[in-house]
Structure formats: C-alpha cells, structure tokens
Amino acid sequence: MFSEYALTGDAFKAAETSKRTKSGIVPTTALTMTQLSFIDSIDGRLLKAGLALIWQPSMGRAGHLSVRDAKTGERRVLLAMKSQPEQLVDIPPTLLSGVIHQALGGRALIALHQMKVRVRTADLVAKGQTIGDILYIAAGPKDEALMWVETRRGFESAAQASLKKVGQQRKKPKLFHAFLASAQEAAQLNNKGFPALKPDEPAASAIATLHRTLLAQMSSQVSGTCKDIDIEFLHDLRVASRRARSLLQTAKTVLSEDVQAYGLERYRWVGQETTTLRDLDVYLHDYPALQGALSPEMRAALEPFKELLKTERKRAFRQVKTLLTSRAFQNFTQQWTEYLTSDTSFTGRDAQTPILALANKAIAKRYQRICNDGNAITDESPAEALHDLRKQGKKLRYLLEFFASLYPQDVIKPRIASLKKLQDLLGSYQDCAVQAAFLEDKASVLRKNVSVPADTLMAMGALADQRLQDEKRLRTEFRAFFTPFAGTDERAAYKAMLKRG
C-alpha cells in the first residue's frame, strides 16, 4: 500500500537526524539533495497507459526505478539499476515490461519532469520485521516535509499504528499527484498540443503564444536528437520547425517584416540542415519492409545499399549534432525568444485584429485554394501539381491544429480527419516518387564501387520500378479521395464552421 504522510514538529526533526525513532523508522541513507525524475516517452505514452515511472538516483549514475500506478501512486515494481533507463531494453524483462513495450511503441525514455528534493530512505520496522519502505522528502518552496510510505502487504494496520504519531496520513498523495500533473503538462506540450486561444484575443498575443509553444516543442527534442536514441526526436523537431514556418507565413500581417524574415530564414535553415539525416533515418527504419518487397533470392543482394545508408547516416548525424550544439543554433533560439517577448516585433497591420477573424480568413483562403488547385488537376497534369497540392494540404492541417481551440471540437475534428485521408494518399504518392529517385541516386553512387555486385544494383532497380508502379496506381486513386474533400458537404461544413466560429 502506498501512502503519503505530512510530517510535523518532532517527527520533522527526527527525519532530519539519522537516529532510529520510537515509531520504528530506521534511516538507511543520509539526507541528500537529489532530483526525482518522472520517466516517460517525450509525449507521455506510459502515463496514458496508466503507468508512472519514477527514477530516484542513489550512488553515481545508479539508482532505483519504481513503476507505479499513475492513479494511486501504488508501487508495482522496484528495480535497482546501474543507470537511468533510456530505452525499453534497459529495463529488465518483467511481465510489466510487456505493457511498457506496447505503450512506448519504440520511443525512447526521457526525464519528462524533474523535482529537486532532499531525500533520505528508511525502513519501517516493527517487532524485528521490516514492514515498509520510507522515502522522506523535503520539497517545495517552504521545504515541506513528508514521507512516501510503501507498506509491505499484510502489515497495513501495523504500519498505520506505528506512523500515527509521526504525521498525518493524507487521503490522497498530494505531492505525487502534483509531480504527475507537471509531467502530464510537459507531455501535453511535447505532444504537439497548443494552448487554448481566446476568440477576441489580439492576433499579436495569440501568435506569440503559438510561436513560443512551437519553439519549446522544437527545443525539447534537441537533447534526445543529440543522444541519438530515438529517430522520432528529430522528426518532431522538424515538425515543430515546419509548423513555425507555416505560422510565420500565415501571420505575415501580424509580425514586423524584419522579424518575420528572420524567423523564416532561421527555421528554413534548421529544416534544410536536418533533411538528409531524416531521410536516411526513414530509409533505415523502413529497410526491412523495402527488403521484404523483393523476391526472397534478391533480398541478400540489397545489403550493400544498407551499408551505404548506415555510412551516410553517421556523417549526417554528426552534422546535425554539430548544428544543434552550435553557437548559431543557440543564438537563434535566444534571439527568437527575445523577439517573441518584444512588442516591437508585432507591428503588422493585423496585430490587433481578433485572432478568430484572422484564423477564419486564413482557413477559408487555404481551403478554397486547395479546392481550386485540386479541381484543376487532370490525368495529364504533371506530378508536381499533386506535390504542390500536398504542401497546401499540410498548411491547412497546421492551421486547423493551431486554431483548433477557437472552434467546437465536434466540428473541427471531422475537418482534420477528412483532410488527413486526402493527405495520406498524396503523401504515399510523393513517397513513391521520392523513393524511386533516391534509389536511383544511391545506385549511381554504388555503381562507382567495383566491389559492389551487379545483383545489388539490380535489386535497387527492381525496387525503384516497384515504387514507380505504385506511384502510377496511386495517381488513379486521386480523384476518389479528392472529390469528397472538395464536395458540397465538406464545403458546407467549412462554411458553417467559419461562420459559427
């Protein structure tokens, strides 16, 4: 059983010393300043699965990981570990790790939130038997003293009787829940969410809020990207950067020209410098599927291609790490933060326009443009026309997400879902074209190496052909996906949403 006790008076003093108390509290470690860390994927997947992982450092890098029930704080497993886990493989296999594995979906583990506290561990002893583990904690601005007590099964009443004089048992573990709430907040922020905007809020204030969120989302991925433990960190960093660029273009009449130009140029720079690594990550991640698409006898021949990808990835990773740890990148985030807090940055003609009016206008304009561009596409239109349409769709998607809080959820969610269907098709279509070109490009690199067998080049050629065939097939499906998106019902739904909003 897990419980939280608020300590008072003498009990507080007793906890400060290392003496055994009459209540049977036997300190096992000295009082030390430490950081309790809430461990989860960056987007809080374990929390969603009802698990709370808390890391408590002990000596050096070693420490204890407790796996708890997120609702009650109840400890389900305690693991002594040599270092803070960064991936699922670092956690010893237990039945719970199956649940963790499913919830994590391959994402790395990070410290989602940290709490600086003074702690000491102790045993709760009664009649010579250890009946509970105690973690004495002094935390918060007033250095509030409390204990987390994990009572051994079957000794609940004995523990309660022993601890009655020490402090007051809280009905709910307040500190644990506060810690949990902070972690949830961090996860929500990292989970590409945006704060709620007020419809009549001046555009300047709303756009600044959105930009600050995007900058925080991008910055939160830097450490994970540099550690190279999960390729999704870089992906999320790039998504935040791309969204920021899109927002800058949408709100060009809100920011001053020079600030907008600075933001666009720097975010474009981040995007360009990280594209190669992201592409290689995707190809390496999809390699088993790529290889599986070949006939069994051709599969082994693809190995030199994989080796080439790995070599190029190493180089690309070094470049990205250099970029993200560079003075130039730090200057950009600092400078951008300053711009976002300065009134002089928001001097565009729409700075004081209510954000809802600006959002309505931007969404209507973008939706109309997609309808016009899509309707103009015929069977003879070049592939670029579909690629451009995808870019427009992406911009509309970002707009719907930035401003989602301004519209009723039951209205905006179906709009996002409907757009997503079209975007999925256009995304697959573009992927085919890009992959075919990528395979041909890499084959030309390998061709220069005499030790690479001809079978490898043939296998890559076969894959490129497959992609081009897929591209052709997807092209024929375009109209079936586009028509509902641009049809009467969807148009009416957009009209009603923007009118109501």
Binding site: R75, R76, V77, L78, L79, A80, I91, P92, P93, T94, L95, L96, S97, G128, Q129, T130, I131, D133, E150, T151, R152, R153, G154, F155
Partner: protein, 249 residues
C-alpha cells in the same frame, strides 16, 4: 502469471534453499514474485523472517474467497511477497480430497494473476494429492537433485509420474550441493545431462554459506550477493527462464 514449482519426491535435496534464493533473484530482476511455502515445516517462511501462521489454516485458505489474498505477507525485499506456511498444511491432502479434483490449487492461484508475474511453490517432499495439484497448476517443475544414484532414481519416478498428468509442466532438473572434489559427484553431474537434455546447465555448489541461512534468516543472494553460490543462483534463474522461453516457442 506463471507458476514455477520446486519439487522433489526426496527430502534434503535443497528445494527450499533453491526456492528462497531463486525467488529472491527473480524479485531483484523486477519480477513481481510470490512464494507459497506449502511445507508445514515452514522453512521458507522462516528464512524470510516471517511467522508460519495462516489465519484459519489450510481449510479457510482453500474455501474462503479472499483468504488467500489476506494471508499474503510482504517480506523485507521489494517485489517479493510470501504466502506463509502453517502447521495445518499437514492436512492439505484431506482438504484437497474434498474437492475431488486435481485443479483446485490452480484455480485458487488464478486470483493472484493481476498482482504477480510468477508464483513460486515450495513443495513438501511427497507424492500426494497436493503434489498432483501442484503438477496440474505448475508451468514449470524445477527439480533439485543430489548427484547420487538414489537421487537419480527419484528423477525417474517423478518423470514417470508426470507422464500420467494430462498437461504436464516443463520438468527442469538440476544438481545441487555439488562437491566437485568427489568423483561420484563429478561423474554423475557430467553423465546425467547426456541422457536428459532438459537438465539445467548450472549446478549449485556445496557451500557452508548456505547453512548459515538459518542464522541470517535471509537468502544468500541478499546477504552474500557476490559469493560463488549467489552467482550460481543468478545463473540458474537465467537457465530456467531460457528453458521456459524455448519451451513456450
């Protein structure tokens, strides 16, 4: 939840010592472990420093819905709980007899599923109604053996008995209390696995440290974690898991 039983028809072969240490090693690895001391002597309960007492005895345990849950006691070790022994366990067979089925123990243990990864059963040395229940409930039967001729005979007896069980557990024999200075021990330990591929590769050496468990009332894997015998128990737990994983496949 899986059920791992430590069993041998013969007494004094190291069942309880193995059960206590393996359960502790499993808990160290993060396995939520519960050990049920089924032996009325209560040696496992003693080693874990708890009282061999269950309210209402075996009859209440087997008949009242929540009696099993309520009887569980935490130990000094995280992730490790104990279902203590009780002197009334000497009547286990009589109580089980009333159910006219060999599945009662298995049925009962299902209520523990959500709380534990593995239920370890420390069984008394007999071939009884209780043993039959254990064999129906267990996924794995871990069988410690002394490297002596007499001990090997019991292996054949247990093995024959399992052939009569409908869904028999995975039988994993291993040698304990091995003194490699003795020629007989060496030859038995080397020869037996040639005919019995299911033998676990790790053998537990004879050690005076194990005898001190009665004084420290704690697993050697907790009191002398770096000793040869503790290392052997870690290795044995790994062998058990590997064999079980292979069998599941």
């Amino acid at each position: 939840m899986y059920v791992f039983a430590f069993y041998n028809l013969k007494g004094g072969v190291g069942k309880t010592t193995t059960a206590v240490n393996i359960t502790h090693v499993a808990s160290l690895m993060g396995t939520r472990s519960l050990i049920w001391d089924l032996d009325p002597q209560g040696a496992s309960t003693f080693y874990f420093g708890r009282k061999a007492k269950v309210k209402g005895g075996v009859e209440r345990l087997m008949t009242k819905d929540d009696a099993l849950q309520k009887a569980i006691k935490g130990t000094d070790y995280p992730n490790l709980d104990l279902l203590p022994a009780d002197f009334s366990y000497r009547h286990f067979d009589d109580v089980l007899e009333e159910f006219k089925s060999n599945k009662q123990l298995g049925k009962l243990s299902k209520s523990l599923r959500k709380d534990y990864d593995v239920l370890f059963l420390d069984c008394p040395p007999s071939l009884s109604h209780l043993s039959e229940n254990v064999m129906r409930a267990a996924d794995v039967l871990i069988m410690p053996m002394l490297p002596t001729t007499l001990s090997l005979r019991t292996y054949e007896q247990v093995s024959d008995f399992l052939e009569e069980v409908k869904k028999p557990p995975l039988l994993l024999p291993f040698f304990s209390m091995v003194d490699r200075r003795k020629t007989t021990h060496r030859s038995v330990v080397d020869a037996f696995p040639k005919d019995h591929a299911n033998t676990l590769p790790t053998a537990i050496p004879y050690s005076s440290i194990l005898e001190k468990m009665g004084i420290t009332r704690a697993p050697v894997t907790a009191t002398v974690p770096k000793s040869t015998v503790s290392v052997a128990y870690h290795s044995l737990w790994q062998d058990i898991q590997d064999a079980f994983t292979r069998a599941k496949r």
